[in-house]
Structure formats: structure tokens, C-alpha cells
């Protein structure tokens, strides 16, 4: 599959003319794609459940060697995801990118913790957040939902469920097994945002990010060196496995520096 590298020269290809990508658009993965990530509203620190980052960032000079170490030992988040059997999410014709991103992040985080693999339902997050409408949201709303109620597996709520009619008995109890207890709110976009996100993915922490230019949320899973000294993020989209390379693409630093970013640090330690 082709590797998609999004940069200043081609980013418009990711965006349709009318707020969506038609199914025949080369970047759509064969399905109509809607964009549902609204811009960050709050200033850093306003979210009581997501603490401001307290970690130091890696200097850029260490990026190359740290990337190399993780890749050579097959210990990137992509490797861990592959080993755990985590598949690309597909939001299909929903606006729930804001829910798909954290749902995928929790699955990855659970894999790093050694928990069993469960397929989490973005619909179990995005539904309550949007009042069970096919609507966009800010990522913070989804995080609050996950912190307070968790995310159910697709056994209880279908992946792209919008209305509540598809929720099976026990869904609420199941969701409570899949909360995230600690998030880092990486704050507003500034000249350190790229370094903060890069540091976290190099430490095995997936980052849920929103891009205003894209009106879209994706999950950062790694740092890559695009060319000597130029870096970008490997991300996993929620447009199915046919997007990019098994759902993965690369965002070069300029376009890849997110407008909002949240890093889940701890998922509920549960076996189910």
C-alpha cells in the first residue's frame, strides 16, 4: 500500500470541497469521509481530568538515534499494535473521528500495559458525546466521556453506532472496564508542541490529536525521520485499512504539529 506523507505541498488532497471526501476521492479509502473534529475551545489547564504535562522533552538531536533504537528492536507503537492484533478503525460515514482517535489510543495503551486486546467502540463514546447524533465534537468531550464512563467493546455497542438503540444490555458496565484514569493535556499549539508529541510517542504513549486545517482527529503512533534532520509523525487514521499503509500515514512537522493534543497515560488495569 502507498505511504501517504502529508506536507505543505499536498495537504489539500486530504480535504474535500464541501466538508467531506466523496467515495471516489483518491484519499477517501472508498467511502464517503466526513470531518468531525472541532477546534479546541479551552485554554490549557481547564480540563480537570487532563493534567498539564510535567515531563521534559527530548532534544531534537536525540530523535534519530531513538527512532533507530525502537525500529531496530521492533518496539514502536506500530509494532506493539501489530503484535496485539489492533486493526485500523473505520469511522465510515460518521463524524466520529473525535471518538475513533481516543478509542484506538486506549487499545494501544492497553497493549503497552500488557492487557488483553479488546476492540473498543467509538460509537460508545461519540454517541453520548453528541447526544446520539452523527455530529462533530471537540476531543475533550470524548475524553471526559472516557474518564467518567469508559468505552464499551464492539460486542456491546457496534463500532459506528450513533443512536442508543444498538446498545446491548451490560454496555455501561462493560465500558467501565475501559476507562483512562490519567491524561496529559498537551496544551495549546506552540513552538514546543511538536517536541512534546514526539517525546511521548517515543516513550510509547499514543497521542490523540486534532487538526484545525483538516477538521479531523487522528492518533499519533510514532516519530519518523522523513529525510535527514526532518521529522514527522506516523499516525493512524480512522478511514479503514485501505487508507495509506494499513491505515497509517505520515504527517510532516509543519502540518503534523497538532492544534490540540491529549495523551492517555493509564488505562484501567482490567483483563476484559
Amino acid at each position: 500500500m502507498p505511504v501517504i506523507v502529508i506536507d505543505e505541498s499536498n495537504w489539500r488532497e486530504q480535504i474535500g470541497d464541501h466538508g467531506k471526501l466523496d467515495a471516489d476521492h483518491p484519499q477517501s479509502g472508498g467511502a464517503e469521509r466526513l470531518f468531525g473534529c472541532r477546534p479546541r475551545v479551552s485554554a490549557a489547564g481547564s480540563l480537570k481530568f487532563a493534567a498539564a504535562p510535567t515531563f521534559d522533552v527530548y532534544p531534537r538531536t536525540e530523535f534519530s538515534s531513538r527512532i533507530k533504537d525502537l525500529v531496530q528492536s521492533e518496539s514502536t507503537l506500530r509494532h506493539i499494535s501489530q503484535r496485539a492484533g489492533i486493526r485500523s478503525k473505520d469511522q465510515a460515514n460518521t463524524n466520529y473521528c473525535h471518538a475513533n482517535s481516543p478509542a484506538l489510543a486506549i487499545e494501544i495503551l492497553r497493549a503497552t500495559q500488557g492487557e488483553s486486546h479488546v476492540v473498543l467502540s467509538p460509537g460508545s463514546i461519540g454517541g453520548p458525546v453528541t447526544g446520539y447524533r452523527n455530529d462533530g465534537a471537540v476531543i475533550e468531550d470524548d475524553l471526559r466521556q472516557i474518564v467518567e464512563f469508559g468505552a464499551a467493546t464492539v460486542d456491546f455497542v457496534p463500532a459506528n453506532q450513533v443512536s442508543k438503540s444498538g446498545w446491548k444490555p451490560g454496555a455501561v458496565e462493560n465500558a467501565a472496564l475501559h476507562k483512562v484514569t490519567h491524561w496529559w493535556d498537551l496544551g495549546d499549539k506552540d513552538d514546543q508542541m511538536f517536541l512534546r508529541c514526539a517525546t511521548l510517542v517515543l516513550q510509547g504513549i499514543p497521542v490523540c490529536v486534532g487538526y484545525n486545517w483538516w477538521s479531523h482527529a487522528v492518533t499519533l503512533t510514532g516519530l519518523v525521520e522523513i529525510s535527514s534532520g526532518k521529522f514527522g509523525f506516523e499516525f493512524r487514521n480512522s478511514w479503514g485499512a485501505s487508507y495509506g499503509d494499513d491505515g497509517y500515514g505520515i504527517l510532516a512537522e509543519g502540518k503534523g504539529t497538532p492544534d490540540s493534543a491529549y495523551a492517555p497515560r493509564q488505562a484501567t488495569a482490567s483483563l476484559k
Partner: protein, 255 residues
């Protein structure tokens, strides 16, 4: 059996006991550092008055040095030394006896003597988790818990960060750890130190508590490894490399 952790502090103040330099080692003994023993340990570290441990025949001694580039070594001992970084090291001694510790620092070295005596083992309260009768090994016999401090990961060397994420370590644990209560997920966990593990198996809860407690006793922000096979185990700093971690696991889980 009891794992014991004793702490030494090194300060760059005075000279250790003067002894001949080891063959092939630096020849100049200088003011490298001095061991300051914890209160419960008697002795001065001199050859005729060694530090004496009576707590157990099976001890993990942890050494902390302020000087960078200090390398510790134990002469003629069945020891298992791990250099955690340039500032401190941990090693295990499995037999009672009189040992000589050498700290090498560039062209200089220092020495100290200590004695391990057979003592009365304390109650086994914090010992390794025991298998439950209804929890039979499915894929192996190990419990492995790594505890990290998420706010301090940036300080870890790249190789140790890699060990935290290593798929090779996970592969080893997949075939050498007990299955969890779901019957399939290996009892291998990597948690932040303030994770709520109350929904985990009793064995994981116990191993996690041991790791957190030992980490706190050592005053360490470094990742901590606790591994047990139900009979014996290890609770100490996570070795620096993926290979060293796997070697450590093999001691208790086999090849």
C-alpha cells in the same frame, strides 16, 4: 525466603581501606568515594571490621555513587551485578561470606569489605506471589510486573526505554508467564506507579505492591522489575537493556 534491599550511599569524602590493586585494574587508589552504611549494618568497611549483614543469606545490595563513571565489582563472589547507570549499581549475593567490593573510577579505585552472615529470615509477608490451586500454569510459570514513573521517562537511557516497550520481552513473557484469569493473557504487566490494579489478579496485585514499595524504599524513579516463579524471584531496578532484561527473566523462567 526474603529479598532484602540495603542501601549504601557513596560520598566523595574519604578513602576506603587500602588493599593491593587487582590485577589488570587501575593501579592508583584515591579518594574515589566511601561507603556509608545504613544504621542497621555494623562495621566500618575495613578488612578487619567489615560491614556485617545478618539479615539473610540472600540479599540484594544496592549501591549508590555520586561520582560518574564509577563501576562496582565484587571479588570472588557468586554475584550478579548490574550497572544501572554511571551512578549506581545493584548486585545479588547468594552465599554467606566475606566479600571485597571494588569501585573503579577511571584510573583510580576504592575498596570496601563486607560480610554476609546467615541470619533468621524475616516473615515471608512481602514474598513472591504463590500460585493459587485453581490457577494452574497454562503457558509458563512467571509473573512479571514492570513499574515505571511516567513523569520521569525522559531521563531514561534509550536502551532502557526500548526495554520498556520491547516486543521481544513480551514474546518471551507470552511463552513463560502464567495465563491471567481470562486463561490466555500472560501475567506480564507494565504499569505506572500509581495505577489502580485492584481489578487485576491477586498475584499481579502482590507483585505490583512489592515493586512500588521497593521502588519507594530505594528512593528511585527508575523503572522497577519484579519477577517471580512462585518459589524465588527478583525485585530491583529494570536492567538497562532488552537483552539484560531477558537474561534476568531467564534466571527464573528458564530459556
Amino acid at each position: 525466603m526474603r529479598w532484602c534491599v540495603a542501601l549504601f550511599c557513596l560520598s566523595a569524602a574519604s578513602l576506603w581501606a587500602a588493599d593491593p590493586a587487582p590485577v589488570g585494574s587501575p593501579t592508583s587508589e584515591q579518594d574515589l568515594s566511601v561507603l556509608v552504611a545504613p544504621k542497621e549494618v555494623s562495621g566500618t568497611g575495613k578488612k578487619l571490621d567489615p560491614y556485617v549483614f545478618t539479615i539473610s543469606t540472600r540479599c540484594i545490595l544496592r549501591l549508590t555513587g555520586q561520582n560518574t563513571g564509577v563501576v562496582f565489582d565484587v571479588d570472588d563472589a557468586p554475584s550478579d551485578i548490574e550497572i544501572i547507570d554511571n551512578r549506581y549499581a545493584s548486585f545479588s549475593l547468594y552465599e554467606p561470606g566475606l566479600y571485597q567490593l571494588t569501585a573503579h573510577g577511571g584510573s583510580v579505585y576504592s575498596k570496601v569489605w563486607f560480610q554476609i552472615k546467615t541470619g533468621t529470615d524475616p516473615p515471608p509477608e512481602p514474598g513472591p506471589p504463590q500460585p493459587r490451586p485453581d490457577h494452574k500454569p497454562v503457558v509458563g510459570k512467571l509473573w512479571v510486573v514492570i513499574v515505571k514513573d511516567g513523569a520521569h521517562l525522559t531521563q531514561l537511557p534509550s536502551s532502557q526505554m526500548q526495554a520498556l516497550l520491547s516486543t521481544k520481552i513480551r514474546d518471551y513473557c507470552s511463552t513463560h508467564c502464567l495465563a491471567g484469569t481470562d486463561g490466555k493473557t500472560p501475567e506480564f504487566k507494565v504499569y505506572d506507579k500509581d495505577t489502580d490494579v485492584s481489578q487485576q489478579s491477586p498475584a499481579i496485585q502482590k507483585a505490583f505492591k512489592m515493586a512500588v514499595d521497593d521502588m519507594a524504599k530505594a528512593g528511585s524513579n527508575a523503572p522497577w522489575l519484579t519477577v517471580s516463579n512462585g518459589k524465588t524471584g527478583y525485585s530491583g531496578p529494570l536492567p538497562l537493556t532488552e537483552t539484560a532484561v531477558i537474561e534476568k527473566l531467564k534466571i527464573y523462567g528458564g530459556p
